[in-house]
Symmetry: C2
Subunit: 377 residues, 2 copies
């Protein structure tokens, strides 16, 4: 069986973590966590999938029979299956059934283990109970936080998917810019962009975000509505585009009809200055608090600090917002191969809201900007 | 505070269940289960929300501060909050943090309890551990199956949402039919329908399904691709439309260009006959197996049984497939206020696939068909 490079590397990291924490194995149950270590996520309704790893043994993916072939395209370990669809008697697999089905396997595989790790934030109690029945004396240590930390450093395959999402977002902005003309509704503009992205990728495309115009921009964000946009108004497009679960998170503010009034132009130029200051701070070793302050101080110096109510950015990956967080007291430290966003914004009643957000790969040589659509209004 | 009728009714049912099972309270943690009993589901990233119910006391929703106002629009019990977004130090709330934050509250609220219920299929181990720390001697009984059974009988508010989803699907079919012309791709047809549905609802609209044409129809289903459709080919549209998480699940088969050849027409007429036979069996008291057989026997009599590889339908609600299941050995029993689908289909290599699916409300007076788009090819 093939074994995709990314999942294999990440399984090795997991083995290292277990060894470091003196654990004899792990049970991984979160949907994204299983995907992270195996490259496999089911698109079917109700198909729980778990990864079992006993140190020194072949890792085992426990999934539904109908998805085994797909799973084996990325995961080279052993695949054990349960019958998720059996016309005679079963159409869907609930976690309780899957946990029961896993018991016999767990009993052999983890025989004699006394301490294993699990992503306890996600671990369903049904599976925990199955573990307790099958390995009576085992202690389950929480490794959720370790996995979350591991996830902040991106592997090559992950960077490819994030870059793809960033490219799609850039293409969406080219459309967005030409669509913000008077008379259209927010939802029409959103749905035209969605249509174009779907065509580009050739199938379903996950895609959401903030689509707010006019006075709605002062509230920072929100889903599109039937509000008709008017000449000269700002329109905030905060696009969340994913490729195989890997996010890009980007923002542009455009002006309906293309001609911005003085008030908006001033906000926009301060926001761009804050973006520039943030980029200067995107270096390995900087803390989340330092990155936040680099942006906040531009707003403060311009006398606009009170109009910047939110964080200055964050990591992206399998979650749209993950560590490092760019907030005042964040001690998260930037490291090479993290992917982060910067999102300075100002929201002034009577004038409007302006936000710009870009995605960056942190490298030893400084930040590499992944989103390139024009930032002009 | 207001208390929406549906959630209030369902909380009462939950109280009845606890009393029947001699349990002193419940901890509900599944996203859909919390929504079912409170009317509230968060759209934010990483905002775990739990329902705590001690028999004889006011139920308590434990959620993030930023969503408390929204939750109070449907849930009239007490709302306890944790700080999910606090600019200084926190942007997202992970289940481990939320479980820890809940401990103090749980300790008082469940003080002295010895047996409570939980939807253990979903219950995160982090919350279970918090329960064990806060109420040391409590036993947690699994009520997942009871809640699943409860969910099969729909309340008035749920029927409204399902009906709305069915109406949207009907509108989508009107579009789909006019769009299946030669030269278009599957994904173009999908994305045009998505655009129109988004406009109709005036914001994001969850919408997926099977979009397969030509020889792809023989494989039953799949997502849309860039395949160009050709005159005379079948196109299977299995549309999954939801309204506030409540599903419709419907299917039509149309012919590209509108003119079906004899082979397809024959399959289609047998499928319609099977649909008719299934409808005759949709009566309170019938079993899932009987419903399956009513459809299967039409295919068998026509000599096509081997070309019907799947189930004959299922319940819908918060899940796209839920009990009752229409499969050979199903002992699920039809009851008034269940909502179910029938989906006879035939897939013949060299000819093509044809499937039709409608949604029905079971009543004492027989089935009420909720999906009305034309079934002709």
């Amino acid at each position: 069986m093939p074994w995709a490079k990314g999942p294999r590397e990440r399984i090795r990291l997991l083995e290292g973590l277990l060894s470091e924490r003196r654990l004899e194995g792990a049970v991984i149950s979160g949907k994204k966590e299983v995907y992270y270590f195996t490259g496999f996520m089911s698109w079917r309704l109700l198909l729980p999938t778990y990864l079992f790893l006993r140190s020194g043994r072949e890792p085992v993916l426990f999934t539904g029979l109908t998805d085994a072939a797909l799973a084996s395209q990325t995961f080279g370990g052993r695949i054990e299956v349960y019958e998720n669809y059996k016309l005679e008697e079963r159409m869907v697999a609930y976690p309780g059934y899957v946990a029961s089905e896993s018991e016999k396997f767990i009993r052999d595989y983890f025989a004699g283990a006394t301490a294993i790790g699990a992503d306890s934030w996600n671990l369903p109690h049904s599976l925990y109970a199955a573990l307790q029945r099958s390995i009576p004396n085992v202690e389950v240590a929480d490794i959720s936080q370790d996995i979350l930390a591991m996830r902040t450093i991106k592997h090559e395959d992950e960077l490819e998917l994030i870059s793809k999402s960033c490219e799609l977002a850039d293409k969406a902005y080219a459309m967005a810019r030409s669509l913000v003309t008077p008379g259209r509704t927010e939802v029409e503009i959103y749905s035209e962009i969605h249509k174009e992205l779907s065509r580009l990728v050739g199938t379903f495309q996950y895609f959401a975000g903030d689509f707010v115009s006019g006075e709605r921009t002062v509230a920072v964000g929100g889903p599109p509505t039937s509000r008709v946009v008017k000449e000269g108004e700002p329109f905030i497009f905060d696009l969340w585009v994913t490729t195989k679960e890997y996010w890009s998170d980007t923002c542009r503010t455009y002006v309906v009809g293309g001609k911005a009034e003085e008030g908006l132009r001033k906000l926009h130029s301060i926001v761009l200055k804050a973006m520039e200051a943030g980029i200067q701070m995107l270096k390995a070793g900087a803390t989340g608090a330092q990155v936040y302050r680099s942006i906040h101080s531009v707003f403060k110096d311009a006398g606009y600090a009170e109009f910047f109510p939110h964080h200055a950015g964050h990591g992206i990956g399998l979650d749209g917002q993950e560590p490092p967080f760019f907030i005042p007291r964040s001690s998260d430290v930037l490291k090479p191969n993290m992917v982060v966003t910067l999102e300075p914004g100002l929201y002034v009643p009577g004038v409007g809201g302006v936000r710009v957000e870009n995605d960056f790969l942190i490298t030893e040589e400084g930040p590499k900007q992944l989103t390139k659509a024009t930032m002009s209004l």
